[in-house]
Symmetry: C2
């Protein structure tokens, strides 16, 4: 039996990088995705440009997919789900169900890169009127318009004159049980604000935030750029209500820097929805018997000193399946998990050889 086969689950940025890594290290790898195309959330959610590079998501993901396509060591399966797992690494039996039916494989190690899903702003947080008002949209809805190069007020189809982002929708929110900060929404909203200003130069753009979490180089590359070159208005404030007055959306709340109530009419309100564990992430935790950490993502062991290793031997995790992650986190974790999975296989092969 080949004690080297590695299964990578999920073909987004983390999984693509992980599969490329194990393949480049010479380990036979199967990369599966339940969707019909690789590329993960940047493709399925129709991202226009990536944060912070502002590079075309289609182009960037095509480059990553190209690296695993026609790779000698990598076998690709789209439209394929994991439906059963038994045994333990380095002899895990996994049942796949794909377009051609069911298939049984034996793997030595697995990398779970099943990502996140965006918070549904209609689920528990009713104050934003997402399902009631046409002109209240999410970061993801905005990406789709930006990708099409046509940013409009949904109710009229006209270019907007005034647009705002509301940060931390579904994040940092104890009432709904989402205690974490989703890490990327400040960056993504700022990137979209810049894109809107470029597409609709007459439009005023506001970002209502609690703390702008523009860490590292995002500080000057996105945040200062948005303020200085693109004249985006960042207002520290709390939004308490989104209502309609006539056919216009009105945002009510408090400007906490100025210490005064605010009430501003908006043509489009964009909700900066956060990250939650994806269904696939929850399913894989059950199938592979990996505990979830307190926020509901896949738990790693070793704290900050081991970002990809789970408590189940031979099973690793990469990207947002383990918690809020930006693209750089996902890529670094993808690479690190490839190293760990390959090293696990190598070590087990040596043990077996030594045992004769």
């Amino acid at each position: 039996m080949d004690h080297n086969l590695i299964l990578v689950i999920g073909g987004g940025p983390a999984g693509l990088e992980a599969a490329r890594g194990t393949g480049d290290l010479g380990y036979p790898t199967i990369l599966v995705d339940k969707r019909d195309v690789f590329g993960g959330t940047p493709i399925s959610a129709g991202y226009a440009a990536l944060t912070p590079d502002m590079r075309s998501a289609d182009e960037a993901m095509a480059e990553m997919i190209e690296a695993v396509l026609n790779h000698d060591e990598i076998d690709l399966r789209t439209g394929t789900e994991i439906i059963a797992v038994s045994g333990s690494a380095p002899e895990l039996s996994v049942t796949l169900r794909g377009p051609k039916g069911e298939e049984q494989i034996t793997i030595s190690s697995a990398i779970i890169a099943t990502g996140f899903q965006h918070f549904d702003p209609g689920r528990e947080t009713q104050i934003y009127g997402y399902y009631e008002f046409d002109d209240v949209i999410t970061l993801v809805d905005a990406e789709k318009m930006l990708k099409a190069g046509n940013f409009v007020r949904p109710s009229t189809g006209e270019p907007p004159k005034q647009v705002c982002f509301i940060q931390c929708v579904g994040s940092r929110d104890r009432q709904i049980g989402n205690f974490w900060c989703s890490k990327v929404c400040c960056g993504v909203a700022t990137k979209e604000a810049i894109e809107i200003r470029d597409l609709v130069p007459d439009c005023r753009v506001f970002v209502f935030y609690i703390d702008m979490r523009m860490y590292g180089f995002w500080e000057d590359e996105l945040y200062w750029k948005a303020q200085e070159e693109k004249k985006v208005n960042f207002i520290r404030g709390i939004v308490t209500e989104v209502t309609m007055r006539g056919d216009t959306v009105v945002v009510k709340g408090e400007d906490t820097t100025m210490g005064r109530p605010m009430e501003i009419a908006m043509d489009v309100v964009i909700l900066s929805v956060g990250m939650e564990p994806s269904e696939g992430t929850i399913e894989m935790s059950k199938l592979f018997n990996i505990p979830l950490e307190s926020h509901g993502f896949i738990a790693t062991i070793g704290g900050a000193l081991n970002t990809v290793t789970t408590s189940v031997p031979g099973i690793f995790v990469a990207g947002a399946a383990a918690g809020p992650a930006d693209l750089e986190d996902s890529i670094s974790m993808g690479g690190a998990s490839a190293m760990k999975a390959a090293a696990f296989c190598r070590n087990k092969s040596k043990e077996l050889a030594a045992a004769g």
Copy 2:
């Protein structure tokens, strides 16, 4: 010639993880550090506990060092510097100077993990009085006291009654040319604030900040914990001056949430100094001919989709040598760079074999 030798430069978290990775993948590895002990900044700067786990830095780094010690594939050199580099990967000639003199080695690939240095708050930012007032210290000075389990007012040796942190010292500061956010100081200050409250329960602790960048799980694990369980006071404000009144330090500025000037007497003022490229990082960029990015750290190529690859073939970077990085970034990048360096060596060996 062995086309597999990998050199890892810098024995902090990123370098230790990188060396363990290449070693575990079966590649002979030399790990060098110019300091006499491994462990990097957490050890040389005398960190008490790591952020966010609050685990003993000594214990955690000892565990990482243990993993490379007595590893069949890893050769360790402390007190050793790189003094010359010539040729190109996979045949790079490198001169090391260590306790036993100079040594010439030929390597196939290198990983630069030379980290950061803390901003010197006396360098250009005079408003904080770091070198004038005994009771104005840095995050690093505070770590040393916390590690000793004796947090006192330096001028008197007595336990303080009132302590504050001033965030963004040397970060987000255009005047001194440091445009970036150093990413970890909000987390580190909050961790120290919790430790001070534990050690000196009567002491009131304030954190003056612009934005609290408590991304991901730091939000509840550190930030909420500090506020709710430990009663740390976070005040959004700008500090404009630190002066003395009698024998007490006085912090002057503006509470921007309340919109009013503030003037508070403090027993200890802790400056949250940011990250700058270390001397070693600058030296390695010169020796290996790798360009620096606009902030002065080692430039990677591929933006967010390639976090560890430099423009020089076979030379990779991990951790804060490439920009502000938290421990998790450093560990993930360490693992990812190990994968890339090993894959580079493997690919070059295959090419050579194919060429006969």
